[in-house]
Structures are given as structure tokens and as C-alpha cells.
């Protein structure tokens, strides 16, 4: 059992209820022990940072302080929500990079009887922990209903793979972690070029035109690549792409019906759990049609004609092994 401190974030309680429910369902089978930080507060999302610096970081750091108080043996905080993850990670990183900020934040925390030593906790995203700590082999071993024939577009959003100060991800632009996880679940993963492009975040409230354009780009691209469903790991992205898809369609006069779910929901399905326990049905663009495709028998495509001896075109360079020793090469076993 791997033990972590969990920072759920406000969305997990309401708008991203499905994420929370499915996470709770899949955590036990894969040996992921999550202890919620007691009395955690909102991290401020991207709102407080644009108002004033010290209160914003103090707000975030109260959670780090509570976590370090509560930590018994574990020194890793797991945040499934991208904005929360980035806020916690940034707070810790900037306080280390610029000690003055750390001093000011701790002075503020002291007014509440708390303190946080920058660097004393690791902040990691849920996907990172599942792929690198739990391991894809473990995940694969729990799969009883492979998601075969389901074409999934992996969508990570922007705040998880970037800025990535601690270099946990294989690449800033085209990371392979979510792809590999979905493959381990048996799904057909499409090479989605916009997998780390921004969904617009809170722009739906600030400047809807901007937001709808960003949402349209993502949905239309997934549609262009004939994805049945998009798998994401960020509550904000899911909200924008799912809940606002109707608005976006109205704005542009389009008729997309691209379901967007959380990757943990797909994990649960592959583990043989019931869809209603995993939060299915809470999405505004229904995923029912896509789910019926799983495990369908599709007639075998005719065998490809034998390749002629003459090579077609000029050779391509071989792909680079993913950055650093963290990421796995194709098919490599996690130790």
C-alpha cells in the first residue's frame, strides 16, 4: 500500500464529483492509500494570485502547513486537480527559489499558529503517482474488461505538464503518461496533437468568446481524429469541455457531441466496476454512446497487402526516448 496525503480541492466536492467518486473506487484495488488533509481550504485557483501576492501564497500554504502537521510517514501530497496541484507545487518551489517569499508566508502562517518549511513536502499530481509509483503493471493486472475498440483522446490540459519545475513529466508538449495509462486499460489511444492545449480556464466567465474558441479547437480536433471520448485529469477542463459544449455549439452553430470524462472513471470501467458508481451520468454530454463501443466485436479488417521490397519515401528519424529516467519506454516494465 502506498500512502499519500490527499488534497482534493473544491471542485472534487461538487462540479467534479465524478472524479472524486471514481478515484475512491479505484484507489483501493491499485493499492493507493489516500488520507485527506484535515480542514483543507480552497487553494484560490487562479484568482487570488492576480490580486495580491502574499495573501495568495499564504492561502495556498495553509494547506501545506496542515499537511506537514498531519504527515505521519508520508511526505507526498497528491492533488488530482490541476490548478490545485500547480498552486501547491508553485508555492513550494517559489518559496525555495526566493527565500524572502518563504519568510513572509511563514510570518502570515504564524498568525494562525502554523508554519511550513519549504521543501519538506513533495507535491505530485495523481496521474504521476499512478504511473510512476503504483506502476502500469499493477494497473494492467486489475483490468478485467479491457476498453478495446474505444477510441480515446488523452487530454491533459496545460497546468499539469507545465511548468513542471521538478521535471516529473516526460515532455512539456506531448507527454506520454496518460497515453500509456489508457493503453494499459486496453483502449485505442489516438495521437491527439492538442493534448496539452489550454481549455480556457476561467475565461468562460471573463471573456466567453475567447473561451468558446479554445473549447471549439479541442472538441473539433478530437472529433477530426474520430475519438469516441476524451479522457481528462482536470476538473476545470472537464467542466469547460463538457458543461460548456452546448454553449460553444450554439455560439459557432456546430453540433459536436463529444463526451468528456475523467481518466479515473475509465480506469474504474476497465476494472469491472459499475458505471453509476464511477460518476457516469453526471456528464452533460452523455458518454453512453461511447461506452457501448467497449468490447464490441468488430469484423477483422482485410489483411494488408505484402509490402514491396522498395521502401516508400525517405526514412524518418527514430523517436527520442522520453525525457529523463522517469518516463517509461514503450512496453517497459515499471520496477
Amino acid at each position: 500500500m502506498k500512502h499519500y496525503l490527499l488534497y482534493p480541492g473544491c471542485s472534487m466536492e461538487a462540479s467534479a464529483r465524478a472524479y472524486y467518486d471514481s478515484l475512491m473506487q479505484v484507489a483501493e484495488p491499485i493499492g493507493l492509500e489516500l488520507e485527506e488533509i484535515k480542514d483543507w481550504n480552497c487553494c484560490g485557483a487562479t484568482e487570488y494570485l492576480g490580486i495580491s501576492l502574499t495573501p495568495a501564497y499564504a492561502l495556498i500554504s495553509r494547506n501545506l502547513a496542515l499537511a506537514s502537521q498531519q504527515a505521519n510517514g508520508s511526505r507526498t501530497v497528491v492533488a488530482p486537480c490541476s490548478a490545485c496541484y500547480l498552486n501547491l507545487a508553485k508555492a513550494d518551489y517559489y518559496m525555495r527559489e526566493q527565500p524572502r517569499l518563504g519568510k513572509m508566508v511563514n510570518e502570515a502562517l504564524a498568525a494562525g499558529g502554523l508554519a511550513y518549511q519549504p521543501g519538506s513536502l513533495d507535491v505530485r499530481h495523481l496521474l504521476d503517482v499512478i504511473v510512476y509509483d503504483i506502476g502500469l503493471e499493477t494497473v494492467k493486472s486489475k483490468v478485467v474488461r479491457p476498453l478495446s475498440n474505444l477510441r480515446v483522446a488523452p487530454y491533459l490540459g496545460c497546468m499539469v505538464p507545465r511548468p513542471d519545475f521538478e521535471k516529473r513529466w516526460s515532455d512539456h508538449e506531448h507527454p506520454v503518461e496518460l497515453d500509456q495509462l489508457l493503453k494499459a486499460l486496453g483502449a485505442e489511444v489516438i495521437d491527439f496533437p492538442l493534448k496539452t492545449h489550454c481549455c480556457g480556464g476561467h475565461m468562460t466567465q471573463i471573456s466567453p468568446d475567447t473561451a468558446f474558441e479554445l473549447i471549439r479547437r479541442l472538441v473539433s480536433s478530437a472529433d477530426h481524429y474520430q475519438a469516441d471520448i476524451m479522457a481528462t485529469l482536470c476538473p476545470m477542463c472537464q467542466l469547460n469541455l463538457d458543461a460548456y459544449q452546448g454553449e460553444m455549439n450554439r455560439h459557432f452553430g456546430t453540433h459536436y457531441r463529444m463526451p468528456v470524462v475523467f481518466f479515473t472513471q475509465l480506469m474504474g470501467l476497465a476494472f469491472g466496476l459499475k458505471p453509476q458508481d464511477l460518476g457516469f451520468g453526471s456528464e452533460l454530454v452523455s458518454a453512453k454512446a461511447a461506452l457501448t463501443k467497449i468490447g464490441l466485436q468488430v469484423p477483422q479488417a482485410p489483411a494488408a497487402p505484402p509490402k514491396g521490397r522498395k521502401e516508400q519515401g525517405l526514412p524518418m528519424p527514430k523517436p527520442l526516448p522520453p525525457r529523463g529516467s522517469r518516463a517509461l519506454a514503450e512496453g517497459e516494465v515499471q520496477k
Binding site: D171, H172, E173, H174, P193, L194, R217, S221, H224, E311, Q312, G313, L314, P315, M316, P317, K318, P319, L320
Partner: protein, 677 residues
């Protein structure tokens, strides 16, 4: 002479102290006249017979002052207080020598870099200058007359690397009548230049200007060409290197091979050529890299040869008309004696796969500059046709991206010098051969040398579209009409102030230059160092770019840093000139600043052996003592400090000298004045 209360014996030396103004560099802060007068009066009891100050001691008049005093006043020691010894120590040593005084009886102390340039309080600076002079006086009393070390110099030279730099150097030395060993790792000499099509700014065909030199080098009576070979070990010292070279087995008997090429033709195993064809073309398992290869003998790639893998085939052997194929050939290990070594090992291009937002390796029609060179080369995989990755389609629009992997803290933070010109060259070639629309995306346009900016003007006239902006992304995800099926370059046109999405058929990445991946290892093998960015370090970045800190080892070409072909050729020639200069002297005079081991004190602990950065210390098993080779020793002093038994001392930096200098600095010598008076 030790510190303490013991009386120092009377001093019999006659010391001259010379304090330089250095214009206002020193005199602006230090009262130089006062220092000179102080030395003459307060250090009289320590042997100072004259103290002078002068505006520019390094000038001929300044030097003459010293020379005259040596002759007329019978000086036996000289102390010059001026700039750093790095600059003028030699000047004053030579001046003393001219006047008949052993040059090593002169000590130079710095009152510029160490006093006037780092202090602003004039009183304090003057006092410090006095102390520094006093230290110099005490030290020089312990100096000994020394003679430079003379070692013979072997007339042969080793040139490592057969690119244009190495070829130039080898030809110059060989033409002067001296033997050269030219060692090259690849099957043929020629280096990167042999891969290019045209060279900027003249648009000369690279092969046409290079191959004559290659042929000359290959057939020169004074050049021993060793290709498919690598240097394994370097021992010895300047003038007398012993180099171990491994000549790898080609599996071809050079005395029988005629270079007819039938083996290559008949070989059934095709392999992607990642070196010469930059991964864009193929070669066989037995191959010569290109038609004009020198030497003409093919090599066998045993890792891909069917016979070595499965034990079958042997087609090359069957068809060879002269029976030159030999599957049993072994590597040859040769030991060469040379006097000088020139390292001209060249560069590697930056791996564009690292810049994932440019899509190289993922998007088919994104090419690197080296791949583009092979495309445009008439002898390349497409016979000089500029086509897309499918091998057939001619692009109608091309984007050339500058600064890929250069000037970027995420990759290499230096400028690679040649990419702007190379990108302009590509723009011209694309225009000429395809009539396609060409965009060049740049941050700054760097065209500094002869005819370079004129070339830029030419490319402007041809109608190339320039966009000032570092490309943010190359993508195939279409968004707007007209983008389907194209590569879209997303960039901010900074001069127009707008973000643009420009659809093109083909993207060329002008990648930067990097040191060879094994540069550090090679440097270690030869006893030189690499800079932070991995290039070989020159002796002085401005004034001595071809020498290194290790005597006898020179560097030339891109191994020292990115540069264009004219500069590379110049450096190759410069290194050759240096070597020839040394060879002409027949003997090398080495500075006698050396450490030596007092055998009776050496305990044989060998701590010094591994500390020596120049591998100058050997251990004698029979006598159980270490010995320092005076020719290799550079006088750094590391072993002197490290020896726990105090058994090592250096000429020009003995323990007595250093301790005396410290006493002088602390003005402990002044107390004697009253006693000596």
C-alpha cells in the same frame, strides 16, 4: 631563513625595486613615488640599493632603466611592482637577461590587479603596495638562477580528425616537409563539409572545393592516412608523445582493393545511413560513405553484416575481383611517436527531437539542416531534388526556422554562428530549385563576415519572406481554412505585432552546433579541458585560440567552438604554423617552473600521483618513490601543497620563497631595521 626572533644574517644581495605608474591605472590610486622611496629607505637593510618609479615600466625606456641599473649598480636581484605577471613577467625577464642577469632572479609583484584596481582608499592602497613590494623583496632573496629545460622535439605530428580543419593543418605541415599522421574515425576523411551541397556566401559546391584537398591529403608522401581509426591512449610530453592508435578492421585488404565498388553493389543488406546521409538515405553493410571517399577502400559494418549475424551471404567476397575481402581481419594497434598533436575533431548537430514543439521526428515533413544538405546535394538520396518525406512531392511553400536549440536556456544558451547564413543559403536554394515560397523565421540576423550581409541582400532580392519571430510551434492540427494537410507554423511576427499561423509544406530547422558527445572523454585522453558548454578550451580566448594549456597539444576548427569554414581553415593553418615553428627549433625550451621530489623525504604514499592534472608524476616500484617528469610538469603546485611529508618543492615556488614573501607582506622584516642600522 625562518620567522621568529632569530636575527637574520646580513644580506649581501643588491636589489633594484621598480614601481610602475601604468599611466593612471596604478598611480591614480597608489602613490607610486612614495612606494619607491619607501622601498629604497626602509628596505635598505634588506638589500635594496635603488628604488625607482616610472610611468610605463614595460616600455623600452622603462626596461632600459632596469638594464642600466643592473650594469651600473651591479644589481643581483630585481623586483618590479606593476601589473599582473601574466602580462609582462616575460618582458622583464628578457630585459634582465639582456643585461646579463639570470631572468629568474627577477620577481614581479602586482600592485595593479591586486591593489589599485581593487581599492579606492588611496592611503590604504599605498600602504598595501608597500607591503606587496616588501613581500617581493623578501622572496627574491631566495630565488636561484635557473636555466630553461631543453627537450628535443620529434618532427612528426599527429592530427586527430580528418575534416577541413585537420586536412588543412596536415597539408601545411606536410608541404613544409615534415611527417604527419592523420587519424580519422570515419571510413573517409572530409568531415561535415563533405555532406554539404553548397557553401555560403559564394555558393561554391562543397565537394568541388574539398575533394582536391582530400585527394592531396590522401596521396601526400608526408601524410600517413589512418581512417576507420581512433586514438586510444596518449602518453609522454610535449616534443615526445607516444600515441596508441587502433586501426579498426575494415575487413578489406587495402593492398589488394582497387575501390571498384562491386562489393557495395552486390551486398544485399541495406541499412539507414545515420552518419553521412544524416538518416535520410541508405548504405550497404559493406560501404564507402560517398563516391569521392579518401581512401577509396570500403569498410564492413559488422553489426549489420549478414555473415557476422547469421553466418551466411559473403556476396562481397564472392564478387570481389581481387579477393580483397577478408572476414578474419583484426584491428591493428599502432604506437606512434610524435612531437605535437592537433585536435580537430569537429562538431555534432543539436538533436532537434528535443524541441517537441517543432515536431521533428513526429511530423514527417520537418527536416533538420543536415537532412536538407543531403536533399540538396546532387549525390544525395534524392539526387539533389528538394522533395518532401514521401520522396516525390515538390513543396510549394517552405519555412526555415533559425536558432533551433541555440540561444535558448532550455537547450544551449550560445549562438551557433553559422545558422543564419545557412538558413539564407537554404532560402536561396529552395527558390532556385523549386520556385516555392520561402519564409525565414529569425530573432536576429547574424551576417557579420566578408560578403555575408551582401548575401542577405541577395536573398532579400529573390523575394524570400522574412518574419522576425522565434517560432512557437509547428503543428499539423488544422484550425483555419487552408491549413488542412499542411504544417502550420505558429509565430508572433514581432515587427507587425501579430500572431500568425503560416501553412507550409515543409519546415527546415536550422539546428545549432554542439560538441561531440565524447568530447569530455577525448579531452581527458589528451590532457586538455572542456569549457562549460563542452568545447575544447583554448589557451586564451582572444589572443591564443589554437593553443591549449597543455604544451604540445593544439586545437583547430569547430572542436574549439562553432565557426564557419574560412575561420576553420584559418585555425587549421594557424595550428600548423605553431607546430612548424616548434619543429624548426629542434629543441624546446621549457620554463623551469617545475616541482621536484626530494627522494630521501618521499615516503612512497603516492598521494601526489593521482592529484597531478598533467599526469607528470610516475612511481618507481623498485625505489618506492615518486618522480616528477620536468617536461610534463606545468608548475601548478598542487603536489607541493598535498605532500604530507613536505617532500616536494618547486623551483620558483619553494616553501622558503613563499614563507619569506608572507613575512615581507606582514612587514616582519622591518623590525630588523633598528638592529641593522
Amino acid at each position: 631563513m625562518s620567522s621568529g626572533n632569530g636575527r637574520k644574517p646580513a644580506v649581501t644581495e643588491r636589489i633594484g625595486v621598480y614601481v610602475c605608474h601604468c599611466g593612471s591605472n596604478i598611480a591614480g590610486i597608489v602613490n607610486v613615488q612614495e612606494v619607491a622611496e619607501w622601498a629604497a629607505s626602509r628596505l635598505k637593510h634588506r638589500g635594496v640599493v635603488i628604488g625607482r618609479d616610472y610611468k610605463f615600466m614595460c616600455s623600452s625606456l622603462g626596461q632600459e632603466l632596469i638594464e642600466r641599473d643592473i650594469k651600473e649598480l651591479g644589481l643581483t636581484r630585481v623586483v618590479v611592482a606593476a601589473c599582473s605577471p601574466h602580462l609582462h613577467e616575460k618582458t622583464f625577464r628578457v630585459a634582465c637577461e639582456r643585461a646579463g642577469l639570470n631572468p629568474f632572479l627577477m620577481e614581479m609583484v602586482s600592485i595593479r590587479e591586486q591593489v589599485s584596481w581593487v581599492h579606492t582608499d588611496k592611503e590604504v592602497a599605498t600602504l598595501k603596495a608597500q607591503a606587496v613590494v616588501s613581500g617581493g623583496v623578501e622572496r627574491v632573496l631566495h630565488h636561484e638562477a635557473l636555466e630553461p629545460l631543453r627537450v628535443p622535439i620529434h618532427p612528426a605530428t599527429l592530427v586527430v580528425g580528418g575534416g577541413i580543419a585537420g586536412i588543412q593543418a596536415a597539408l601545411e605541415i606536410a608541404d613544409a616537409g615534415f611527417p604527419v599522421y592523420l587519424v580519422e574515425r570515419e571510413p573517409s576523411i572530409g568531415g561535415h563539409m563533405a555532406q554539404f551541397d553548397k557553401t555560403f556566401p559564394t555558393l561554391d559546391c562543397a565537394a568541388c572545393i574539398l575533394t582536391p584537398r582530400m585527394v592531396q591529403a590522401g596521396s601526400h608522401p608526408n601524410i600517413t592516412l589512418m581512417t576507420w581509426s581512433e586514438v586510444e591512449k596518449v602518453e609522454g610530453f610535449v616534443g615526445n608523445f607516444e600515441v596508441t592508435v587502433r586501426k579498426r578492421a575494415r575487413m578489406v585488404k587495402e593492398d589488394l582493393c582497387t575501390g571498384c565498388g562491386i562489393c557495395q553493389e552486390k551486398c544485399p543488406k541495406k541499412v539507414v545511413d545515420t552518419i553521412y546521409e544524416a538518416g535520410l538515405g541508405y548504405r550497404k553493410a559493406v560501404y564507402t560513405p560517398f563516391a569521392q571517399a579518401v581512401p577509396k577502400f570500403p569498410v564492413m559494418d559488422v553489426e549489420n553484416c549478414t555473415y557476422f549475424i547469421k553466418g551466411t551471404c559473403k556476396a562481397c567476397e564472392k564478387f570481389c575481383p581481387t579477393n580483397a575481402i577478408d572476414f578474419t581481419q583484426q584491428d591493428q594497434v599502432l604506437r606512434l611517436n610524435v612531437g605535437s598533436i592537433i585536435l580537430a575533431t569537429g562538431y555534432e548537430i543539436f538533436d532537434a527531437r528535443k524541441v517537441s514543439n517543432y515536431g521533428y521526428g513526429r511530423l514527417a515533413n520537418v527536416f533538420t539542416s543536415l537532412e536538407m544538405e543531403r536533399l540538396t546535394n546532387a549525390a544525395g538520396p534524392t539526387n539533389g531534388q528538394i522533395v518532401l518525406r514521401d520522396g516525390k512531392t515538390v513543396p510549394k511553400s517552405v519555412g526555415v526556422i533559425h536558432c533551433v536549440g541555440s540561444r535558448d536556456r532550455n537547450f544551449n544558451n550560445y549562438c551557433s554562428v553559422i545558422c543564419c547564413m545557412q538558413s539564407l543559403k537554404f532560402a536561396h536554394l529552395v527558390h532556385e530549385r523549386t520556385g516555392a515560397r520561402v519564409y525565414n523565421f529569425y530573432i536576429d540576423m547574424r551576417t557579420p563576415f566578408k560578403d555575408y550581409d551582401e548575401f542577405y541582400q541577395r536573398v532579400l532580392e529573390e523575394g524570400t519572406l522574412f518574419v522576425r519571430g522565434k517560432v512557437a510551434e509547428v503543428t499539423d492540427a488544422a484550425r483555419l481554412p487552408g491549413e488542412e494537410g499542411k504544417l502550420i507554423i505558429q509565430v508572433e511576427d514581432t515587427l507587425a505585432g501579430k500572431q500568425r499561423r503560416i501553412p507550409v509544406d515543409m519546415v527546415i530547422l536550422s539546428v545549432g552546433l554542439e560538441p561531440r558527445p565524447d568530447a569530455q572523454e577525448v579531452a581527458r585522453r589528451f590532457g586538455i579541458s572542456c569549457s562549460v558548454n563542452g568545447w575544447f578550451i583554448e589557451k586564451h580566448p582572444k589572443l591564443d585560440p589554437v593553443a591549449t594549456m597543455t604544451e604540445g597539444i593544439y586545437i583547430a576548427g569547430c572542436a574549439q567552438g562553432p565557426k564557419d569554414i574560412p575561420a576553420t581553415v584559418s585555425q587549421g593553418a594557424a595550428a600548423a604554423a605553431r607546430v612548424l615553428g616548434k619543429i624548426q627549433q629542434k629543441e624546446l625550451a621549457l620554463e623551469p617552473v617545475r616541482a621536484s621530489v626530494l627522494e630521501e623525504r618521499c615516503s612512497g604514499c603516492r598521494i601526489c600521483n593521482s592529484l597531478c592534472p598533467f599526469n607528470a608524476i610516475t612511481y618507481h616500484e623498485d625505489r618506492m618513490v615518486s618522480e616528477i617528469n620536468p617536461a610534463l610538469c606545468q608548475g601548478c603546485g598542487t603536489c607541493v601543497a598535498a605532500c604530507p611529508a613536505g617532500a616536494i618543492s618547486g623551483t620558483v615556488f619553494s616553501n622558503e620563497q613563499v614563507l619569506a614573501q608572507i613575512e615581507g607582506l606582514l612587514l616582519l622584516n622591518l623590525g630588523e631595521e633598528a638592529l641593522a642600522a
